[in-house]
Symmetry: C2
Subunit: 346 residues, 2 copies
């Protein structure tokens, strides 16, 4: 029952009557081995059901084929990030790499802890959505030449490969859409201030208003915790105003959900009483009441592109830094009062 030993190069070497070096060469392909010998080794390995230990291998060589990618996102429970994770994982799978997933919860300490741990695990590289705050420890990793890819967020001060979405333009389009429909008092329900995406999307909001000669009313600008409760709170604040907005721009998926729930609770008619456009189009957006008009960002591609970029950098560490910006697009449904029942398949 407990007989099932784990065989090693040594066992295979003995079985095939060669040295461990030869066995290793056959499996890692690091040097030519005579065809006949190769076959003998393969046979022996098959007979013993031998599999090389990725741990031992990783200890010996830096960037090997059998590597692990570290992924740090804010919260895997947020569908946006689980899409990213899925994108990363798929690319990793194709290259036989493992993915170690971590949640930072927008917490600098937790992020730093994970960064350390992933280094201790000797991951080949990192993909992360950095929190806002102090980035000294990230700079340290960069100095150590650890390949890092930022995904979803960008940090000016750091020279790192990034894959982001055109947040400003996306937000701009969303708000412009509201303006075109006649809205002038447009509120914004933002996520945590200081986070890259929150700030960028605010810029898009501001740009659209300015361009249309609408002055920004600070009363209409709210920030929340990037989750459902934050969205609900935003709606409460805005509706409590003497002169409430006729439309709101919610800057992330979970907050939008919170908005919907709060509006439902208060029997607010959407879009008649209050129009809403969201950033981040999710699978449930078209099943909402009413179907949500939202900026769709390619979460999966964000993840897969980041992973591919990481692999490229691992192959060629001296590559120039690239900052890829993927395009978002506005999916118009009914939550802004657009007349047509326009549904796009995903």
């Amino acid at each position: 029952m407990k007989e099932n030993k784990n065989y090693t190069v040594e066992d295979v070497a003995e079985e095939a009557n060669v040295s461990t070096a030869t066995v290793s060469r056959v499996f890692s392909g690091s040097a030519k081995v005579n065809t006949e010998t190769t076959n003998r080794v393969i046979e022996a390995a098959k007979k013993l059901n031998y599999r090389p230990s990725r741990v031992a291998r990783r200890l010996r060589v830096k960037n090997t084929e059998s590597m692990v990618i570290g992924l740090i996102v804010t919260d895997l429970q947020n569908p946006f990030f689980s899409e990213i994770a899925r994108g990363v994982e798929d690319v990793a799978y194709r290259n036989e790499n493992g993915v170690m997933v971590c949640n930072s919860d927008e917490n600098t300490d937790k992020e730093s802890f994970y960064l350390d741990t992933l280094m201790d695990e000797q991951v080949a590289g990192l993909i992360m959505a950095p929190t806002s705050g102090n980035h000294d420890y990230i700079q340290q990793l960069i100095d150590q030449n650890i390949p890092i890819i930022f995904v979803d967020r960008y940090i000016d001060a750091l020279q790192v490969d990034t894959v982001t979405v055109d947040n400003v333009t996306g937000a701009y389009n969303a708000v412009k859409h509201l303006i075109k429909l006649g809205h002038r008092r447009i509120g914004i329900i933002g996520g945590i201030k200081g986070i890259y995406t929150t700030d960028e999307r605010f810029r898009g909001y501001a740009k659209a208003l300015e361009e249309s000669g609408i002055e920004i009313d600070d009363q209409l600008v709210t920030y929340g915790n990037s989750k459902e409760s934050g969205g609900a709170e935003g709606i409460r604040k805005l509706l409590a105003l003497d002169n409430p907005p006729t439309a709101v721009f919610s800057t992330n998926n979970l907050m939008t959900l919170g908005c919907f729930e709060e509006m439902y609770r208060r029997d607010v008619n959407v879009p008649e009483d209050l129009a809403i456009v969201g950033f981040d189009d999710m699978s449930w957006a078209s099943a909402l009441n009413p179907p949500l008009t939202a900026v769709r960002q390619p979460g999966y591609e964000l993840g897969s592109t980041a992973a591919e970029l990481l692999l490229k950098r691992l192959k060629n560490p001296n590559r120039t830094v690239s900052n890829i910006e993927l395009r978002s697009n506005l999916v118009i449904r009914e939550s802004c009062g657009s007349p047509q029942k326009d549904r796009q398949e995903q």
Copy 2:
């Protein structure tokens, strides 16, 4: 710039004027070391910014503190599974363990590939939602005494710790609810046949009908691909019948979403034309049109419980196998025609 060496036990040993064994003892706590010496080692380590390599450690010892947990789910993009993943990750974090996440896509080959890879990575244990099909390779792992926890799904033939949900009872309650509301022709839109949860939920459906003296009409029983498209297709099939159902039970979250989209497309009134109850309550359920009545299953707890169970088994490999069943509960909203506007906070 490239000066940032990675220090090892050896460097610390030299710096502190002790042997590598002593350094190791200080860091792993495997044996008593004189307080003064300990301090000297800690100082030296701090000075060099030394961190032990988890890879080297894992190579040497089997179950150490610094271990990695392998997690195989069907699809991280399914919010149910990302909740589980989050639950696992949180427990792992508290114990300073890494989590390597894999998606099987209900594909036996992919599952088997990942199982092999995770073994090669020398993970301390596995948490997985097994696909249906051949489980010989899982049995092999069990024979090798690899700790495995099944989550969400149960396989009769295997003696393994499991954490599942009361699928039969949950489904039973959902369908019973429909019956109480007067429905007699109740369709079921099931996931992939053969998968544990699909089959169990069907049993609950059948039980509820039988108990109420309603015969199962095979025409009303459909199976799909467990995703949005499967749900939409289910609705199409059921509505194409000469004598279509007045209510449907959709057995998973994504399919329910597909149902909603298809019903919206066809201008089916919910619940007047067709009532719907779903299995799996998600954050967006209360924002649907109309708010969804659904069986809530504790995804996060499923994950965290599984992780805790794994840790217990690692500490005590001879523990008797435990099969934990967590309770689901029916969250009544409006998609079944219940009069009250009953909303439960999550």
